[in-house]
Each structure stands twice: as C-alpha cells, then as structure tokens.
Amino acid sequence: MNPPFDLKSRFHSVAEIHSAFLSQKVTAVALAQEYLSRIDASPHNAFITVSVEQALSLAEKADAAMAKLGPESAIRAQALLGIPTAIKDNLQWQGVRTTCASRILGDYHSPYTAKSVQALLDAGAVILGKTNLDEFAMGGSNENSAFGPVLHPTHLDRVPGGSSGGSAAAVGAGLCVIALGSDTGGSIRLPASYCGITGFKPTYGRVSRWGLVAFASSLDQVGPMARTLEDCALVDEIVSGWDEKDSTCIQIERAGPPSQPLDRPVRVGIPREYFQQGLSVEVERVLQASILRLRQAGVEVREVSFPASSAVISTYYLIAVSEASSNLSRFDGVRYGARPSETEASDSLDDFYKKVRTQFGPEVKRRILFGTYALSKGYADAYYRKACEAREWIRQDLDRIFEEVDWIMGPVAPTTAYLLGEKTRDPLEMYLNDLFTIPANLAGLPALSVPVGVENQTELPIGIQLQGPRGKDRELLSFARANFSFPEKLK
C-alpha cells in the first residue's frame, strides 16, 4: 500500500506531479487548490493577479482528460497536464488583466492570448495567475513595481532579482512549478540565479513575441523558469516554434536533431574579462568549483578573450532605452493607457498626454528620458548609431569565440541577492549589475542560469551562466543537464 499522500509537500518538477497523477494520489483540482492557498498565504507579493476561476476550470479539464483517457494517455497527449504554472504579467491572456506592473494600464484586460501562453494552455498547464515584475520589465530587482516589491523566496529582506522576479520567487517559494518570464538584458537569468532556480533565455526569435508587451523589441525574448533544467527544456520545447504573427520569429527545429557524439572533448570558454569585473569572492569561488567539476568530467575548459565586453553596458542601455522610448510612446491615453480623472480638465492634447503619462513610475520615466536623448537630433549619431556598431562588434566577437569553444561559461551576476533598497538610489550601479547577462541579448544567443551553490555565510543561492551559439538551444540545455545537478543545499 502506498504511504498517505502529503499534499503539503513541495513538488519540485513536472515529473513528480505527473507521477502523483499516474498513481492517482492527487487530482489536478486538489493540487490547484493547494497552490492557490499557498499563494494566498505567501508574503512574497509574487503575483499581481491570481486567476482562481480560470485555474480551477483548467484543473477540472485536466481531471476530465485523465478520467476519459486514463492518466498515462492524457499526460502523453498534453505534456504539462495539470501543472501549476505562472506567467509574467507582461504576457497577454485573454480576459485576464495585464498590468505590466504599471499604473498606466489601469484595468486593461487582454483581448487575446500570447502565442507562448496559448502553447502552455494547449499543453494542459493550469495557469494560476500573473506574476509581478519591474514596471514594463525595466529593472533588475523587482522593486520598480506599482504593486510593490517582490520578496526573495527564502530571504525576505532581499530582492529576488528582476525583472521576472515574481516568476522566480513563485517557483522558488513553491507557489507554482513552472513559469514564463521575459528576458531583455538578463530578466530571466538574474532572478533565477538569485532565487536558486533555473532560467533559460532562448535564441532571439525562437519563441514568438506575439502577445508580449514590448520593452525593447530587438532584445526581448520569452523563456521558461523552473527548478530543474529538465522542466526548462520541456517548457522550451512547448513554447518555441515559428509564428507568422511575429516577424522576427525564426524557423528552426523545436526539439532539434539528437546531438552527435563529438570525437573530441567538449570545449568551454571562460572570458578572462569576467574576472576583472568586480566579482564577489563567493561568486568567483562557486564559478571556480564549476570549472573544476567540468574538468573532472572530461570537459576542456579554457580561457578566452572577449575584448568587446568593454562596450556591453553602454551599448545595451543606449539600444534598450531608445527602443523603450519608442515602444512606450503608444501609452498616451488614446491608443493605450488609462485616463486618470485629471485628464478631464485638459486644456490641450499635449496637456492630456502628459497627464496620462504621469502614471509611469520613476524608472520608466528615467529610461524614456534617456532614450529620447539618445535618439534626438544631434545626439543620435554619437549615441544610438555608435551603439548599433558596437552591438555588431560584440556579436562578431562572440561568434569568433564560438569558433574556438562550444559554450561560454561565466557568472550570472557579480553578487548574490542584495538587500531591498540597497541600490535604488543609484541607477547606474543597478545597470552595471547586468554586465554578464547582456551580451546574450545583444547577440541573440541562447543562455541559461543554473543553480550551482550557495554563499557560505548567508546561504543565498548562486547560479552560473552558460551561453551558446544562436540556434543551439537544445544542445546547450543537454550539456547543462549532463553536467549540473541541483545543489543539495537548495533542495
């Protein structure tokens, strides 16, 4: 006889839940109710909208499918059947509020569903709600939200990282099993590292951006977050693929061909510049331990040179804010955006627009101003066009490195999760925190963050980052799965 099933115990993976379904220890509805209760009792502020009605309806459908087909066949037909899932609140889900953590969207309800979200629904996922983020995904700490900051899953006085901090905290705190985030400069990988989970940014264009509210269109990418690499790979396979509605989507195989065994050792490059960039002692210790582990597994780890890394921060911020200032111009109260009562007394259209756009928070205003400056007459050549040249240099430099090695490994962030409020007064310091994650966005590369250890004194999680050539997403995930297992101290 099976031991009594403890619904309060934490599920760590899709496989664990499906195993419980197969042995009929739990129903999808009971599971959804348990996770909704956890969200309700959680102090993390990870969710902006909890979609109780929709979640229970999806769970009922999952139970009905298992009753009709039998659990095994139903799970074979829908790979995420009954899985408690969260989506970042910059992704559209028809009929549900989308806020982008901004006051300016008011009570906007999505009129359609994002392609990536629809893929989850088609795979049987039970979406519990929409997670908190930095306003319009602008930030690295999740403190820039009109709905209040998200708290770190285990250290409540610290940030979870951002901008997909709600998704990361929700997975880390056991409020869902898988989540979608978006990554413009590290917004999946950074919070994944801080929260001790796994996050994957696919090759640019591999996952449709249809239904993702744009921050910086040439950099934004939707991707999975989960505790395990296996679940990230599973969700990636489900949400990736060609979409005619996104003109930047690329046509590559979803699952990719099986990797052929190499007749030489796998080569991993570590940019020497990464060790000159203010890494904390603990992050460097964990990175060195990962290098040792790979070498012991027969991987050839070598130092590589990445001279274009000196241009990364400036290039990224000029391009990102320029695109953001353009993308966010649509929030004017006519095309998009709530109209506060003050607009009724507007004496000109310009006055009206300004009253509507006052609803943006400080970080969004700062980036719009910066982007307007970078694109304005007389400065565009010096800033934006120069940044586009530097971007191409960075891309070519990374392509050259991938002629020498198969993968690039490095830190995700210079430090572990910092205290709430520690960096809010200094935007530049916050921007510099993105140094290691930005190159993958500028060059459109696949990159992942995987937890590998904890800081000795605080036991805060530390992740490392792996990047690969464009289109080698599945191989990158396979390499990571073969070489990194979930750290005991984070289980």
């Binding site: 009129p111 359609y112 640019y204 264009g205 249809w210 269109s217 040439s218 950099l219 005619e244 509605k245 003109s247 930047t248 989507c249 690329i250 046509q251 241009a311 921060i313 400036s314 290039t315 911020y317 000029l318 111009s329 004017d332 109260g333 006519v334 095309r335 109209r339 009724e344 000109s348 259209l349 310009d350 009206f352 300004k354 009253k355 756009r357 006052t358 943006f360 205003k365 700062r366 101003l369 910066f370 307007t372 400056y373 304005s376 800033y383 066009r385 120069k386 940044a387 586009c388 040249e389 530097a390 971007r391 191409e392 240099w393 935007p427 530049l428 921007y431 500028l442 459109g444 464009r470």
Partner: protein, 117 residues
C-alpha cells in the same frame, strides 16, 4: 522647490545635461516632471551619460557596420507574405471599442464645440 532655485542651480552646472535640456526632453517625451524630478533625473542622466561616453573612444575594428537587432542571421522571413487580412490582424482590429468605416474610434479626449467622438 520653486523654479528659481532650479534655475540658479542650473546656471552653476558646468557641462553635461542641463536642467533646461531635461525639461525639453520631458516635453518631447510627453512627460510632466516636477522641479524635484527635473533635478533628480538631470543628475542621474549626467552620471549615465558620463558612463556611455566610453563608446565614443571605442576602437571598433574597421569594416563593422551598425545593425539593428532585427537583422539577426537566423531570420527566414524574407519573402513571407504577411496578408493584410490575416486572422491575427482581424482579431486585433476587432478588439477596438468602436469600429467605423473610416477606422477606429476612441473616447473623446477634448471636450468642446465641434469635437466629436
């Protein structure tokens, strides 16, 4: 903080972004800024602009031309026919609150004689 204090601090600022420029940027971006915000954002943007100045002195190898991110090499959409009457387009247009033969209608922005929705 009144305008007079902001102006006096502006006159003492040497080089970099001025308070006046920040106000002009805000106007271009259709943002209202309080005097406190003008001062704060000017100082912060100066710091950020000082940092990105390093781009000007970068020695980018010859022959590299600037590209936008959308021209990544894996794109395969050249020649794809994006139909104007595709399902997606129709769905989005259908979401508009009021459709008219000439386009989409939005709620009144300005109230006054001769203004129509």
């Amino acid at each position: 903080m009144g305008d007079s204090k902001v102006e006096s601090e502006e006159s003492s600022s040497a080089g970099g972004l001025s308070f006046r420029q920040t106000r002009e940027l805000a106007s271009l971006a259709r943002l209202y800024l309080t005097d406190e915000e003008v001062q704060l954002y000017t100082l912060q943007l100066r710091q950020i602009l000082d940092h990105v100045e390093d781009l000007k002195s970068l020695s980018i190898p010859a022959g590299i031309e600037g590209v936008s991110g959308a021209s990544l090499p894996l794109r395969r959409d050249e020649g794809v026919d994006f139909e104007r009457d595709s399902e997606g387009r129709s769905m989005i247009v259908h979401c508009a609150p009021v459709l008219s033969p000439d386009g989409l209608s939005v709620p009144l922005v300005m109230k006054g004689e001769g203004v129509q929705e």
